[in-house]
């Protein structure tokens, strides 16, 4: 396999719809040769598909066994928690509803993208107050934080 470019944001900058593609999925070779023709850089770019090929519940079980996360499976994805969340209002990458679903279905690719934002939760508890299904999103977020740290 060709070397991956170390600077993710500079990869594939010729692509018009670049901002809609994950940095990680762009494989831009620093140096690559195809039978004597130099196809380094742009000419050798391959983008890996982002298709989800499996539903995996390991992480959800992990969260379920962590205090606070017991009721993650109850979520019906109504979005009340995100609507009430003061952090989500400030930080667009933070979205409890989305975290719950991604963990529940085990979407690794999506999780990679948002992993570092999990800890932005201020544990204010507003979400748990408004949750119609008693998921306790606040507790779930804490449990997700623990589980994600353990997994990495």
């Amino acid at each position: 396999m060709a070397d991956r470019d170390p600077k993710p944001e500079e990869k594939g900058r010729f692509i018009v719809e670049r901002q809609y593609i994950d940095d990680r999925r762009i494989n831009e070779p620093k140096k690559l040769d195809a039978g004597g023709i130099d196809i380094s850089g742009r000419w050798g770019i391959l983008i890996e598909p982002r298709t989800i090929t499996a539903f995996d519940h390991t992480l959800m079980h992990e969260v379920q066994s962590t205090p606070g996360g017991e009721f993650i499976h109850r979520c019906i994805q109504c979005g009340n928690c995100t609507a009430a969340c003061p952090t989500a209002e400030e930080h667009p990458m933070f979205n409890p509803r989305y975290f719950i679903h991604v963990v529940r279905m085990g979407y690794q690719g999506e999780l990679e993208k948002v992993r570092k934002y999990v800890y932005l939760c201020a544990s204010c508890g507003r979400c748990s107050e408004v949750c119609p299904r008693e998921v306790d999103p606040s507790g779930v977020m804490t449990a997700i934080g623990t589980a994600v740290r353990k997994a990495s």
């Binding site: 018009v16 809609y20 982002r50 209002e89 667009p92």
Partner: protein
């Protein structure tokens, strides 16, 4: 940026998000740039694009309403690689009636991800045609000469010129330099080396030895095409988004009209 935000500012921001960002579309993270982009939008231009779209000949055949089921996205090729989905296109077209700013993010880069394969049209349970809507939006973007459109069309200019003047798009002489086709490998380089002799030997009379067009085209045919482009407003579209090409083609069209008149 002040160190703290006032209550009023917060309320305004929340209201603007509720209208403009991902909230309407599932509230996904990472859509902040959509909000920022939408704020950059000039409402008048966007409204004009929206009007353009609605007056397009095919708009009412292509757009009905969307129940957000995700059938189209499930078969969309671009969606496998980029966060582009025909479902979002129809949703935004739907909501842009009240908020034309939503189209800003569409015309900026989004629509250019579409592969125009029309799988979305084939599967849509409501018989929307998202691919067709993308084509309509592209048209409107070109007509309005948006900066992002000009940038997107820049690497295109040679092809635009070739097509507008000869009526054929890909020609052998484009393949004579390997520089533009390095990703097609050594085989391509070998072909480029022998291009002329291979083309001369193609056993079809209208193709053999023709290098600057796809096939032999009569002068009169090309003139007729230029007149069509002039009359249908294609040249004006070119002039708004690819000015250099537009100017040259306009001259060519003027010559074509002169030739036709002297002929008559």
């Amino acid at each position: 940026m002040p160190a703290f935000t006032t209550r009023a500012q917060k309320a305004r921001r929340r209201a603007s998000r509720l209208n403009q960002d991902g909230w309407l579309y599932g509230g996904l993270p990472g859509l902040q740039w959509e909000v920022e982009n939408a704020r950059k939008a000039d409402r008048k231009v966007m409204q004009s694009i929206r009007d353009d779209m609605e007056h397009h000949e095919a708009f009412h055949d292509y757009y009905h309403a969307c129940i957000n089921c995700g059938n189209c996205t499930a078969v969309c090729p671009a969606f496998r690689f980029a966060d582009f989905g025909p479902r979002i296109v129809v949703q935004k077209v739907m909501h842009s009636r009240d908020e034309p700013e939503l189209l800003y993010q569409m015309v900026d880069q989004y629509i250019w991800a579409c592969f125009q394969c029309y799988a979305c049209w084939d599967v849509c349970p409501a018989h929307n045609n998202p691919g067709g809507l993308v084509a309509i939006i592209k048209e409107a973007a070109v007509r309005h000469g948006l900066q992002s459109t000009q940038k997107t069309l820049e690497p295109y200019s040679r092809i635009l010129y070739k097509l507008a003047t000869t009526g054929t798009q890909i020609t052998p002489d484009m393949h004579s330099s390997v520089g533009l086709f390095r990703d097609w490998g050594p085989h391509k380089a070998e072909l480029a080396k022998h291009l002329k002799e291979y083309r001369d030997a193609v056993p079809v009379e209208t193709l053999a030895g023709v290098m600057d067009k796809s096939w032999k085209v009569d002068r009169q045919t090309m003139d007729e095409l230029l007149i069509i482009e002039k009359e249908s407003g294609v040249i004006d579209m070119l002039k708004s988004s690819a000015k250099d090409v537009g100017d040259v083609v306009e001259e060519a069209a003027a010559e074509a009209i002169a030739r036709k008149e002297s002929h008559e």
